[in-house]
Subunit: 188 residues, 2 copies
């Protein structure tokens, strides 16, 4: 692997494990087996490195979500496709998803969070659109699209977090269970 991708990978590992602020560029470059000026040659700054990590790993995820959230009149089907997209991506890039999760409830005032904020906002908007469109078929959802989008994404993130920490499988059984729970509650 060339040095640039090696740096990207090591930066992701370290950021996901200990957080952006707690990791120094020195440690990243050492882990990647290069020197600091090499890192700065490719990414310009520590912030630029984080931006490149987002760019590199998030693009396929964003496309997958966008594709899954195309709504054609069947809300349960669309939610299932979205959940599949989330679960599949989390399993393909678990370390990156762990990095993402760290920003979910952290709209703080750091260099890093600003970048993660728009990444999360894009996803939110895509899923919010689903609930807005679904009002045509389910009028009683009206006016609550934001709450539904937030709680649905929260539910998926809860599942993925459980899986990342070894408390659950991330399989079709779990997906169908939480989809049912979201749509029909815990009692039925």
């Amino acid at each position: 692997m060339d040095n640039r991708n090696q740096i990207l990978k090591c930066a992701l590992d370290l950021f996901a494990a200990r957080g952006y602020a707690a990791v120094g560029v020195q440690e990243i470059s050492e882990t990647a087996g290069v020197t600091k000026p090499t890192l700065y040659h490719y990414f310009g700054s520590k912030q630029g490195l984080l931006a490149a990590v987002f760019e590199h790993y998030h693009t396929p995820f964003a496309r997958s979500i966008q594709q899954a959230s195309e709504y054609h009149g069947d809300l349960p089907l669309t939610l299932d496709r979205i959940a599949q997209a989330y679960f599949n991506f989390a399993m393909r890039e678990p370390v990156y998803y762990r990095l993402l999760l760290g920003f979910v409830f952290s709209p703080r005032e750091g260099d890093d969070c600003k970048m993660a904020e728009e990444v999360n906002a894009r996803q939110f908007t895509a899923i919010e659109q689903v609930f807005i469109q679904a009002v045509h078929e389910h009028g009683n959802l009206r006016g609550r699209h934001r709450l539904y989008a937030a709680t649905f994404i929260g539910l998926l993130n809860t599942c993925i977090s459980l899986w990342l920490n070894g408390h659950s499988q991330l399989d079709e059984t779990l997906r169908q269970r939480v989809l049912h729970q979201f749509q029909h509650g815990i009692y039925s």
Copy 2:
């Protein structure tokens, strides 16, 4: 206010705003209007300061949750009391709750997360117990207490996060709506 509490308050503000690793003790002591040795006199280390922040702010919250999650055969009532406890505490200590939220999906390998982990684990256990006991009255919940506890807490945190970012009120209307959603789904 005496210096010790002043330091605690400033540390909370800064940690919640920019994260534990991104804030230096220098900045904390300056904000609090004291010098660094004063801070170290009271708390011994930066970690000790964070531990003291948790201790100071979390004790009343933990007691409130513990009290609300006493189960006596009425699950909807118990969930409502728990949600009330969460919402009330978040409104009383919004800055501390923002700090807490930052750790929810971040079981990383840093000094700070270790401390937050057990704090969150205690809450989780208390609420998990509710669902374990509720099996007596709702047999179909059996075997899913962990998932229910995680998703219920996740739902409450989603609401509080929405409120902290100005996207929603944190009132009785929202509480009843999400409690209904959790128990009966989005369609009914």
